[in-house]
């Protein structure tokens, strides 16, 4: 019984550290992917204003241990970058319809 009581926190600690290692990797991968998308949007002139801010905030949240909030921000940044890229493609033809004639 005593043995069990001692091993429980050890097991728990082990689990937590495992989870944090893998979530660390997950976070970094997701963050890098979102930042790469942001750069892709910027390369065609379609980065949105707050995308970089979200990525910066995500890092801070992650460092503070707020994994869920951090991942949400990363997802938001990724989505904005994709929307910007789609907007660029959509505008390839649409802009001409607005030229004053």
């Amino acid at each position: 019984m005593l043995k069990k009581l001692i091993s429980l926190p050890i097991a728990a600690a082990f689990l937590v550290s495992c989870a944090s290692v893998s979530s660390n990797d997950d976070f970094n991968a997701a963050w890098e992917a979102a930042d790469a998308k942001r750069k892709e949007a910027a390369a065609v002139g379609y980065e949105w204003r707050d995308t970089k801010k979200f990525l910066k905030k995500a890092k801070a949240e992650h460092e503070a241990g707020n994994t869920e909030a951090a991942m949400k921000l990363v997802a938001k940044a990724h989505e904005e970058a994709e929307d910007g890229i789609a907007q660029h493609a959509r505008e390839a033809e649409l802009w001409a319809s607005r030229v004053l004639k």
Partner: protein, 277 residues
Amino acid sequence: MRMFLVALAATAMAIGGLATHADPETDRIAFQKYYTTKFPSVPRDDFQNGIYSIDKVSREEWMEIEEFPPYELAIDAGRDQFETPFANGKSYSDCFENDGAVRGQYPYWDAERKEVITLELAINECREANGEKPLKYQKGKIAELSAYMSFMSRGQKVNVVIPTDDPDALAAYARGKEFYYRKRGQLNFACIDCHGSGSGNRVRSEMLSPAYGHPTGWPVYRSKWGAIGTIHRRFGGCNRQVRAASFKPQGREYRELEFFLTYMSNGLEFNGPSARR
């Protein structure tokens, strides 16, 4: 029948091509006509006054402000800078003729360098050619110099020249034009949405100004800034307010945008610096 379809497609392409690649002069005439038709009671040269050409209420307030213009200090500071020699003994007047009254020469297409040269870019290139550090582009000293030089140039005609036999110049113009008409940012707005069809409408408490005349009065002392700033600073602000990332002041994008926008106001007069809310 087949021939007919081919001919039809060719015509459609020709029309489509015309619409997108109209020559700058056709663009300019249509652009100006849009605003003179939309605001028939505004005398043509009053478009130089931005929002105050169409907003009667704020115009009165502005006329009072113009009696003791808030940009006067900037003109004086700019004159001091202009007349102070560089460390090598030369000065701005070695780069800019006519005591700096050269506003009407900018922006221009440099065929050799294949890029648009703006007044602020030329100011920094003059400094660097004389061994001085370049200035920051949005406010402060460069805006003061620009204010002084614009003041000295008041009344010069806007007369941007786009050499139509130079495909690089035409491409730069076309990119500037496309920038103006493309929607951007999370709010999905193009410049023309606010300053074309939207001009005369209000967003929150502010009325939107017509784009015709937009480039004439720079630099501008804006009450909101509490200081004088350059047109590229304003471009950045207008990009960010639709939640798009702004571009580098004096980067290629904004210089080509200025090239297009200034060409659209050909025929008006430079009347900077000015005061705005």
